[in-house]
């Protein structure tokens, strides 16, 4: 498959753009692979790509039950950031950020990564002190962070934001990470799929896993709607469906709850919101897409759910927070809303691990934040699969941390998934 470049654009424009080839093949499943990855979302595809690129494993299949990009990779609010407090998180997400910065070139696919910055708003002096601490922790790890003090300074950065003393929750400052931003989420799935395919990975769409092949304790393959596929290693990266899929392997309990998270996009506006902004007196994050729509979301609905749709109380909550921040947006019409299923872990941090059965590898527990982790998740999971040991950056994210009591609880709310 040809490299995308200005020359391929020119060449194809002269032939009326009739000769473009599909970005990835549609192969039939082979009976056996070295590695089978269950889940053709962002994390599964990036894992396949880094397995091929960094570890030379190309006899790999990615199994997707629907079409590529039909799950959370196409349902998120596209925010990329690495503004974490705890070192295990900040190192991992900063590695992800560095991969994002070179991703379009690496994949030869424009993922439209736009480093427009993220501004977390503070509404009380105590919250601003906390942001100063987090910003210092980030800078200590070599991550960019700038404390913004005073409503006026915030107002200069984000026109349209209500920075007056009459706001429902008056703004006193914020924490800015200038290198954060957004990316085109579908392009991330397509780009990784194409890049993995070019290195020989088979991407099998409409191929749902219905069970696991076992030899004693060991997992030796999967049964699917397109036949049995044997594999030396079976890796599972299915986000909100983790509970369902591991049950097929006989694992009945996990430190995970599945919850529904809604997201929203408005009608297209002219450029008005230039950074990603988050509300500090509730939970809301908003940005404007290149197409002009305001993309925003808030809390999960708060009860266990596998339905990819939510209920009205959260819609109302999110809308009222958005309007409290930006009174000018009160007349903007909502274009669409949708839901995705989050794999909420017990400490709010992900799980990248060998197991839970021999021959099996698991990547889950991404809570709200799976999208920004896509490159680093694949990077570390590929390492874990190829070498049968955790990558240094994900060594803290193993499954046995719960048993050992070494949790990574960024928010400090304990084993209550709905609060992370």
């Amino acid at each position: 498959m040809a490299e995308y470049s200005v020359f391929s654009l020119l060449k194809n424009s002269f032939s009326g753009n009739r000769d473009w080839k599909p970005a990835w093949r549609k192969p039939d499943p082979k009976p056996e692979y070295d590695v089978v990855i269950v889940g053709g979302g962002g994390h599964g595809l990036s894992t396949a790509y880094y397995l091929a690129k960094e570890h030379g494993l190309t006899n790999v299949a990615v199994l997707e039950k629907g079409w590529l990009g039909s799950g959370n990779i196409g349902r998120n609010t596209t925010i990329v950031r690495s503004n974490y407090l705890l070192p295990e998180n900040s190192r991992f997400y900063e590695h992800s950020m560095k991969l994002w910065e070179g991703l379009s070139h690496d994949l030869n696919y424009n993922v439209m990564f736009s480093q427009r910055g993220i501004l977390n708003l503070a509404h009380t002096p105590g919250q601003l002190d906390d942001f100063a601490r987090r910003g210092n922790a980030m800078r200590h790890e070599g991550i960019d962070a700038e404390l913004v003090v005073g409503a006026e300074a915030v107002g200069r950065m984000v026109p349209g934001l209500d920075v007056s003393a009459n706001a429902r929750f008056p703004i006193v400052g914020g924490l800015m990470q200038p290198r954060a931003g957004t990316a085109r989420h579908d392009a991330v799935a397509w780009g990784y799929a194409r890049a993995a395919d070019r290195r020989g990975v088979d991407i099998l769409e409409n191929c749902e896993v219905t069970g696991f092949l076992r030899e004693g304790d060991r997992v030796v393959g999967v049964t699917t709607t397109r036949g049995d596929i044997r594999a030396r290693k079976v890796a599972v990266a299915v986000a909100g469906s983790t509970g369902r899929v591991v049950k097929l392997a006989g694992v009945d309990e996990m430190p995970i709850e599945s919850h529904v998270l809604q997201a929203f996009v408005s009608e297209s506006l002219k450029p008005v919101l230039h950074t990603v902004v988050t509300f500090g007196a509730g939970h809301l994050y908003a940005s404007q897409s290149d197409k002009g729509g305001l993309v925003f979301g808030g809390d999960i609905d708060g009860y266990n759910s596998y339905a990819q749709r939510g209920n009205l109380p959260v819609v109302e909550d999110v809308a009222s927070e958005f309007v409290a921040m930006f009174p000018g947006f009160s007349r903007v019409r909502l274009l669409r809303s949708w839901g995705g299923i989050m794999d909420m872990s017990m400490d709010g941090s992900p799980i990248i691990t060998t197991g839970p059965l021999p021959g099996m590898y698991l990547n889950c527990g991404w809570c709200y934040g799976g999208f920004k982790a896509t490159p680093a998740s694949g990077w570390c999971f590929a390492h874990t699969i190829a070498r049968d040991e955790p990558h240094a950056l994900s060594a803290a994210f193993t499954l046995d941390r719960f048993r050992r009591g070494i949790l990574i609880d960024e928010k400090g709310v304990g084993a209550t998934p709905r609060l992370h």
Partner: protein, 87 residues
Amino acid sequence: MLIACPYCGPRDVGEFTYQGDANRKRPDPASPAGAEWERYVYDRTNAAGEHREYWQHSGGCRAHLVVTRNTVTHAISSVTLVRGDDA
């Protein structure tokens, strides 16, 4: 989503507070720390389908409830009071 409170009748989900999985069994408080406690604190069945869970009618009569709800369809098949729930 409507939850039929035994005292108040069908009310909007916004009046209720979710309080988590009702399938878990708290181990004997006197038992030593170990696998049983770890399982109680961290592990969940996370069922796709019928799920027993605690809710409180916090915006109404404040009763604590056990709701059986399908996590795939959100259909509720039973709502009972926590008091007297011995399952």
